[in-house]
Amino acid sequence: MEIIPAEIQPPARSIAGASGNRIRLASERVTNGGDGADLVIAFNEQVLLSRVRANELNQDCIILLEDKWRTDQDADIAAAYATVCDELTASGYRLHEVPMEEECLKLVPDPRRGKNMFALGMLCSIYSMDLELAREQVRFTFRKKDEKITLRNIELLEAGWNWAKANLDIKFTIPASRPREPQIVVNGNTALALGVVASGMEVCAMYPITPATSASHYLSEIFEKVGCVVHQAEDEIAACAFAVGASYAGKCALTITSGPGLSLKQEVIGLAVMSEIPLVVIDVQRGGPSTGQPTKVEQGDLFAAMFGGHGDAPKIVMAASTIEDCFYSVITARKIAETFNMVVVVLTDASLATAQQPFPRPHFSEQWLAPPVDQSAIASGARPYDWDPKTGLATRFIPGQPNGMHCLTGLAHDRDSHVAYDPDINQEGIRHRGLKLAAFQKTLKAPALFGGEEGDLLLVGWGSTKGAIEEAVTRLREEGQAVSAMHFKFLQPMASGIEDVLHRFKKVMTIENNWCDQFDDGLIDGENRRYTALAMLLRSRFLVDVDCWGEVRGQPIKPGTIATVARDAMNGMR
């Protein structure tokens, strides 16, 4: 997982400027970022402080810290360094000061451009990795560069390895389990872009916004190879309208964005709902409202995705819960959009966007792709909105189809797409557009339970928190607690059978990365408490007293935190 500061070049040695990577290693499949760090490498003590303050380090965490600051010419810097080191040691962390730059200087003139390899070498030694494999990776990474550069990097890698071997008495062995089938390792945004190609969509219209942009960067790299287009529009409204135009002209298109962009697109999304144009909207959620926390994770857009625009505008909302899911969700979304002529919103978030996780290499299927644009003649007498009374479905007429001429409109309209002046017709239209949601809902199965089929506590989640929630459940069940988890892929509509599940547990609680009021705030009571988004939905739909827990710290929720929350909740029950 990446730690990304808000600025491109944050001031050096600033607490807020921490950037880095979190790596979780295990012999079995890793489903989430885990709890606190056991080992951290930091290039200065100030960025480290931000991680300490965010409670990101375990109590006895090993710290490998660049030591050049101790003798810095600037007395303030040297003093700050010394103070922090003392604090860290006093707090129980196992601090090792490492002359990283000094060692690198022996090999390169500018150690700032090489000490990452030195650090990698140290890690390889500490975690008993095969150095030859690391060398190979370095060769692969620099394969397009000059041979000298590769050699220099390998030297730095070996230097780190040797230094750690000679000076550190830290050793872990985490045996690798080789995959039995090929795995691909990508982040969620790359997976989304691959999913777009695999879905058969031909147009992606977007406007740059963090943390969605990197998906469009990668898509821009590969989309033209399959004859398709990433269009960077003048703003999000134009991007969404462009996608709607392309979709209307024959093939479902997509637009990809994050919170502020989703807000801007709402009017156009409403138009697509009203005129029944298929459209895929991907929202890589970040902290909100307003500009919020652009590089940080939050699950704050669920209601915006469902109810964001004005009027009654039923659309399908689904959430990807893993990186693999990012890939397949796009394919599914395109299919649903074109089958039901609906808008499908796919929610991912900043943590899925930048985290990497291996998953089985997909086997391409032509079924994933959209059929060619239908240009056959429309039967005479057929009407553009001939809503099926049972399912609400109508056939889409595509420009170029003889006899299909009609004027699509965002105004309330009748079956001929004529502007409706009759009071019954608005009811008719809204009824049928809503029915499509029910028709789609009939195809859904209730999400499988993780843990047991019944018990004391059910934890419910959606999106990127899946791995952490399930890991918490595993730990709690090992302690003998009757805890299970249910995770939603489709949030609108929700599958049948969920109410039944809710009733099989003494307590139901959602775990979400969005806000809910806390009772320890004096003003908050049962009458005014605001619940997290999914909790609010479950309460209103199923009339079950669903509780919730949420945080908006801009960090992925940790399994340990969830386990604590669950234990507290069960203690409260007793």
């Binding site: 190609v197 398709c228 003048e234 462009f242 002209a249």
Partner: protein
């Protein structure tokens, strides 16, 4: 030999579209005397004369009185959102070069709420014909000032008159990179209105025709000085622009030979305030169209998708132990 020939002839006759073939079953609901009626007539004539297959023709619009035009055409129509006609039209055109795309937009629609799209649409230069129905007022919402209203215009939101000078859609458009066709017409000279729209249609690229359009409902006398006094209309004539019939030439004596290739003169003429220039202000046939620049080298086929996906997956794949990749280097 003869049978196929008759068949062929029959088919041509069959496929000949008449004016009625472009008229929808809804009759226009604009006010009597509204300039939009004349614009609709000109467009229907153009479709007939160019024999555009109705199913291959798309009329896109925003919201406003003028944006009702697609409802009155027998063609595909897209009556979308206030201000957003242009990006919708771009999306339509992007992957469907076979479609003839027209846009009808009002002065509020284009120059106010949709202003960003207007500027960028000129720059994209996608092949479409855009009719800016400029009545210098908001019609549909009942008489509010528009960004093209003359300074001092009294309206429901400016009871003591507007404070600002209007945006000049012509000079503004002529200042945008990649501008390729800008013309001005007036609804009260139907002959030239038709001519100019026809040239706009025939131009490959983004052709913008600003049409001064009367709104008798809210500003019944706004254009009177020009309608009543032909000398205040300056006709821009040129062998690459419009040519005048003898009758017109007699009535409209204020003429200037203007080469549509001359952007500097186009800007000067567009800036006239006392007189209304009518004709082709600017045309450049060499500006590339965005949809052509972005056309894929290879068509999107299942086989290609499979190949590219596999190539990409290869970059990210960890193979199981028995795979030879580890041993190879």
């Amino acid at each position: 030999m003869s049978a196929p020939l008759t068949e062929c002839l029959l088919r041509t006759i069959d496929e000949h579209y008449s004016l009625q073939d472009y008229q929808s079953d809804i009759s226009p609901r604009w006010c009597t005397g509204c300039g939009d009626n004349g614009i609709l007539t000109a467009v229907q004539r153009l479709c007939r004369d160019e024999q555009l297959p109705p199913e291959k023709t798309v009329f896109v619009s925003g919201i406003g009185c003028s944006s009702r035009l697609p409802h009155y055409m027998n063609a595909y129509g897209f009556h979308g959102l206030h201000g957003r006609a242009l990006p919708v039209a771009e999306g339509i055109k992007m992957r469907r070069p076979d479609l003839h795309v027209f846009v009808s937009t009002g002065d509020g629609d284009c120059c106010s709420i949709g202003a960003a799209h207007w500027i960028h649409a000129i720059r994209y230069n996608m092949n479409m014909t855009v009719l800016l129905h400029d009545n210098q007022v908001y019609g549909l919402t009942k008489k509010q000032a528009s960004p093209t209203s003359p300074r001092g215009l009294k309206s429901n939101t400016t009871p003591s008159g507007t404070w600002l000078d209007p945006i000049n859609p012509l000079t503004t458009s002529l200042g945008v990179a990649n501008v390729s066709f800008i013309a001005q017409a007036v609804d009260w000279i139907p002959e030239l209105l038709y001519d100019i729209i026809e040239q706009a249609y025939r131009h490959k690229g983004f052709s913008l025709v600003r049409i001064l359009q009367r709104c008798p409902e809210f500003l019944p006398t706004l254009f009177d000085p020009w309608v009543r006094n032909p000398a205040s209309t300056r006709l821009l004539v040129h062998e690459d622009g419009i040519q005048l019939s003898a009758a017109l030439s007699k009535t409209y004596r204020n003429q200037e030979v203007h080469d549509p290739g001359n952007i500097h003169r186009a800007r000067e003429v567009s800036s006239l305030t006392e007189e209304i220039p009518v004709g082709i202000l600017y045309r450049d046939d060499d500006v590339p169209c965005y949809e052509d620049l972005r056309e894929g080298e290879r068509p999107n086929t299942p086989g290609l998708v499979r190949t590219v996906l596999d190539e990409e997956f290869d970059k990210f794949t960890i193979w199981p132990e028995e795979q030879p990749t580890d041993a190879a280097n």
